[in-house]
C-alpha cells in the first residue's frame, strides 16, 4: 500500500479536520499500518507540545508596553495634526504673498526693423567672417536687396508683423579683408 497517499489525510485527522466518514477510513488504515500509526502518533504528540507551549502566559509587561506606546501615539496625534494645519496655513499665506510681490516680467517685443545698409557685395570676404551665424547676415543681405529695390530716396521698410519698437536696434558692423564687403548684424537692444 502506498502510504504517501494517506499522509495528508492522516495529518488532517491528527488535528480533527476530517469528516466522520473520512476519519473512520483513516482509522481503519492506521489500524493496519504500523508506519502510519507512528506518523499519527508523532503528529498528535508534536501538536500537543506546540499547543501547550503556545498557551503559556506571556509577560504582562509586553502587553503594557504595547498599550502605552499606542496610547502615547494617539495622544500625540491631535497635537501633531494641529501643528500640521498651522504649518500648512502659514506656508499657503507665504506662497500667496510671494506670488503677489513677484516682479512681473515685461512683455518682450521683438524688433524686426530693417535698416538700410549702404552696400553689400559678394566674394572676397574673409572665410571666417562668412562662416558666421547664418540668421542675421542673411537678414542684412535681404535688407540690402530691399534697399536696392526701393532706391536711395525711400524710407526704410519695416516688416508688417513687427510691432513698433521704441528702442533703437543695435547694428553690428563686421569688416572683412575686402574693403567692398561689409556685413551688418542688426539685433534688438536685448540682443535678439
Amino acid at each position: 500500500m502506498n502510504c504517501v497517499e494517506w499522509e495528508e489525510r492522516i495529518a488532517l485527522h491528527a488535528g480533527g479536520d476530517l469528516s466522520p466518514a473520512e476519519a473512520q477510513a483513516v482509522e481503519r488504515h492506521v489500524a493496519e499500518c504500523a508506519g502510519c500509526q507512528m506518523l499519527l502518533s508523532g503528529l498528535r504528540q508534536s501538536l500537543a507540545l506546540v499547543r501547550e507551549v503556545h498557551g503559556e502566559p506571556i509577560e504582562a509587561a509586553h502587553f503594557a508596553a504595547v498599550r502605552a506606546r499606542v496610547l502615547a501615539e494617539l495622544e500625540r496625534a491631535p497635537a501633531r495634526r494641529w501643528r500640521f494645519a498651522w504649518g500648512f496655513a502659514m506656508a499657503a499665506a507665504a506662497a500667496v504673498l510671494l506670488i503677489g510681490m513677484w516682479p512681473r516680467p515685461e512683455r518682450k517685443t521683438v524688433s524686426h526693423a530693417l535698416v538700410p545698409v549702404p552696400a553689400v557685395s559678394r566674394g572676397g570676404a574673409d572665410p571666417q567672417v562668412r562662416r558666421g551665424p547664418p540668421g542675421p547676415p542673411v537678414r542684412a543681405s535681404r535688407t540690402a536687396r530691399a534697399q536696392r529695390k526701393a532706391g536711395p530716396g525711400r524710407p526704410p521698410r519695416t516688416m508688417a508683423s513687427a510691432p513698433p519698437e521704441p528702442a533703437e536696434p543695435m547694428v553690428v558692423k563686421l569688416l572683412t579683408n575686402d574693403p567692398d564687403v561689409v556685413i551688418y548684424w542688426i539685433t534688438s537692444t536685448k540682443g535678439e
Binding site: 488532517l12 479536520d17 507540545l49 506546540v50 507551549v53
Partner: protein, 182 residues
C-alpha cells in the same frame, strides 16, 4: 471564530482613549501572541501589535460594521507580519535545524520553559510563511478552517493543504530535535 467579542462602545468610537484602552486589553493577547508566533521575535511582535491597534483606532467605524473584531485583527496582524517577515530571514529547512544536545526522550517532561518556547519557535521557522500562518491560526489560535481561509484570503482547500503540510513538517522537526526519528 474562536473568540467573539463585542466592539467598542460609543465612547470609544468618539475617540475616548480610555474606552480604546479597554478594547486593546480585550484583544491584546490575540494580536501580540499571533504576531510573536509568526515573527518569532517579541520586539517585532510588539511593533506589529502597536501598528495593528493604531490601524484599529483609525478604522473603528469600518471594523464595527464588520461586527467581527477578531477576524479583522487576525487579518491585519497576519498581513503586517508578512510585510515584516519578507524584509527579514527566510524560513529554515527542517534538515538544517540543530538537534537538542541533551537528547531528551520525552519533550513534554524534560524541557524547561525556555527550551519549550525555543522548540515551538524553531519548528515554526521550519515552515513557509503561508504554512506557518495557517498552522498558527488553526492549531494554535483554534480558528476553524473556514475562518483561517477568510483571514488569509485563501480557499479552504488551500488552507487544508497548507495545514497538513505544516503539521507533517512540524512533526519532522520535533522528532529530529529529540532524535526520535521514525
Amino acid at each position: 471564530m474562536a473568540q467573539t467579542m463585542d466592539g467598542p462602545d460609543a465612547r470609544t468610537r468618539a475617540g475616548d482613549l480610555t474606552g480604546f484602552e479597554a478594547v486593546m486589553r480585550q484583544h491584546e493577547r490575540l494580536v501580540l501572541v499571533t504576531a510573536l508566533r509568526l515573527l518569532g521575535n517579541i520586539e517585532d511582535a510588539k511593533d506589529v501589535s502597536q501598528e495593528v491597534f493604531l490601524r484599529l483606532y483609525r478604522n473603528l467605524g469600518k471594523v464595527e460594521a464588520e461586527k467581527n473584531y477578531p477576524a479583522w485583527l487576525y487579518r491585519v496582524t497576519v498581513n503586517l507580519c508578512h510585510d515584516v517577515g519578507r524584509k527579514r530571514r527566510p524560513s529554515v529547512a527542517v534538515e538544517d535545524v540543530p538537534e537538542l544536545v541533551s537528547g531528551a526522550a520525552d519533550p513534554q517532561q524534560t524541557l524547561t520553559g525556555a527550551e519549550r518556547q525555543r522548540v515551538l519557535q524553531m519548528s515554526l521557522r521550519a515552515l513557509s510563511e503561508k504554512e506557518r500562518a495557517a498552522l498558527v491560526l488553526r492549531d494554535l489560535e483554534g480558528l476553524s478552517t473556514e475562518e483561517v481561509a477568510r483571514a488569509l484570503g485563501s480557499s479552504e482547500a488551500t488552507v487544508r493543504s497548507q495545514i497538513s503540510k505544516a503539521r507533517v513538517k512540524m512533526r519532522d522537526f520535533v522528532e529530529r530535535y529529540f532524535r526520535r526519528r521514525v
